[in-house]
């Protein structure tokens, strides 16, 4: 979390009053005062989301609209198959740079009247400038809150207010009316669970959030559990698991580079860093992402160096995200290690001067609950 934010420059979320009334503790994050947890705490909120439905306020994230014909232009910035993205569908992608690094990751939705993007809060200013340098009519959406309802009971809880959402599949997008408010809904999220992200006009956001919270299956969930949920789901956090110095292939997001954009594809390359990234897809990258399960109970957090030996030797990599996985009841981590490290090699994380063993495991740590 960004610790450079000072209280006097923080922006409150539109629903700050509701969060305070719900007993939230606030922390600075990406320039916003964000609810990090409510009364039940990170562990309880995490487990609730895996069993029922958690309501997250992610209004700090950037919402951007582009003209409907912008998908082709976006392909010059993002190595995803966007002209092949059907209307009513959403896709994950990354903005790359000339060195093959990542400037941000984002969601791109192809809607009936426009193209709708959701970008990371800390990168919003950067992304808007980047988009405007290459595309016209880039419009930041500033009059909408963004909520996420996540968990196996999310469909039932949101469906009680907006029946049409039950027919959506994973990564569908649609617009629904709720009491005169236009809801921009996608069936997606950042927890590994089934769920929805809902852009709602600020004027109706609190009433809508309260309507969801009045359902016994729904509880508010803060930034703390959002991080542990996404970590268990093996989803990268921009700025930790992926950044200008870590390519999408190294970060395990090579899957987001569509066949059409790869070597031999119909629209091969044509995005920043294509030479580096396409070569990595074909011949391998210098580093690779791995899941790690530390033995014992000590968490291995971001920055912990990873070794192949219990003593001596140089690090083979480091932890990019790590902590405790409440659903596993054990510490978990994502590491970035030299690609030639054997996949069955036992590894060691150096925590407080001690090398503690950690096993390489595939990601995600918990099976996804997406409704395909």
């Amino acid at each position: 979390m960004a610790d450079t934010d000072s209280a006097d420059t923080l922006t409150d979320l539109p629903l700050a009053g509701l969060h305070a009334a719900l007993g939230a503790k606030f922390v600075p994050f990406a320039g916003y005062s964000m609810p990090v947890q409510y009364a039940s705490g990170v562990m309880g909120e995490h487990l609730w989301t895996r069993e029922k439905a958690g309501l997250f306020d992610v209004s700090h994230m950037g919402q951007v609209r582009l003209p409907k014909d912008a998908l082709a232009g976006l392909e010059a910035l993002i190595p995803a198959d966007l002209t092949g993205l059907a209307e009513g569908r959403q896709r994950y992608g990354v903005f790359t740079d000339d060195a093959g690094g990542v400037l941000d990751d984002l969601m791109i939705a192809h809607r009936a009247a426009d193209v709708f993007l959701v970008v990371n809060a800390a990168r919003r200013g950067h992304d808007l400038a980047h988009l405007r340098a290459h595309l016209s009519a880039v419009e930041e959406v500033t009059d909408r809150a963004l909520l996420a309802l996540q968990g196996p009971l999310a469909e039932a809880a949101l469906g009680a207010l907006v029946p049409g959402v039950a027919d959506m599949r994973f990564m569908d997008v649609a617009v629904f009316d709720w009491q005169g408010a236009d809801l921009w809904v996608s069936r997606s999220g950042y927890t590994g669970e089934d769920g929805f992200e809902i852009s709602v006009p600020v004027a109706q956001a609190e009433a809508f959030a309260r309507a969801l919270l009045s359902d016994d299956r729904v509880a508010p969930v803060g930034l703390g559990a959002r991080d542990s949920l996404r970590l268990e789901a093996g989803l990268p956090l921009y700025g930790q698991d992926m950044d200008e110095g870590i390519s999408p292939v190294e970060a395990g997001q090579g899957w987001s580079i569509g066949k059409a954009r790869r070597r031999g594809g119909a629209r091969e390359g044509g995005f920043p860093g294509a030479d580096v990234i396409l070569d990595q897809l074909e011949n391998g990258a210098p580093r690779r992402r791995t899941g790690l399960r530390p033995e014992g109970r000590a968490p291995m957090r971001a920055g912990v160096h990873i070794f192949a030996e219990a003593e001596g030797g140089a690090p083979v990599g480091q932890i990019t995200s790590g902590g405790f996985g409440p659903s596993l009841g054990a510490p978990i981590a994502i590491g970035l290690i030299a690609a030639d490290t054997p996949r069955d090699a036992p590894l060691f994380g150096e925590v407080r001067g001690k090398r503690l063993p950690a096993a390489q495991v595939p990601l995600p740590f918990v099976p996804p609950g997406y409704k395909r």
Binding site: G41, V42, H46, S228, A298, F324
Partner: protein
């Protein structure tokens, strides 16, 4: 019971001081998931970082409140770190310290002073 500015509580029985963290500290930390305790018979100096306590959110240390020798540690905490959230000032004591000078305890905060310190 006495309190330190680092949110530890101290309970003295002669020259043996039992040390834990306050409920306020436990609440601030959130769900505790890992605890590392010092070895018995370790000589410690005031301010030494002698325990590690990790919550779902972050790692922090517990320092020795006084010079002395660790004479007992609470192994139950290692097996069940969440005891700290359930009973911070009771079952979730961390270690017992044999101190040279019991009068040094007079320098720490009383309960009322500690409540002022945390703004309650």
């Amino acid at each position: 019971m006495k309190y330190t500015e680092d949110h530890e509580w101290l309970s003295a029985d002669g020259d043996i001081v039992t040390v834990g963290i306050t409920e306020y500290a436990a609440t601030q930390l959130g769900d505790v998931v890992f605890i590392e305790l010092p070895e018995i018979e370790t000589q410690v100096a005031k301010g030494d970082e002698i325990c590690v306590i990790e919550s779902v959110k972050a790692a922090s240390d517990i320092t020795a409140p006084l010079d002395g020798e660790i004479v007992e540690v609470n192994e139950a905490l290692v097996a069940n770190p969440s005891l700290v959230n359930d009973d911070a000032t009771g079952d979730a004591w961390f270690f017992k310290l044999k101190i040279d000078d019991p009068s040094a305890l007079d320098d720490f905060m009383t309960e009322d002073e500690y409540k002022d310190h945390i703004g309650e």
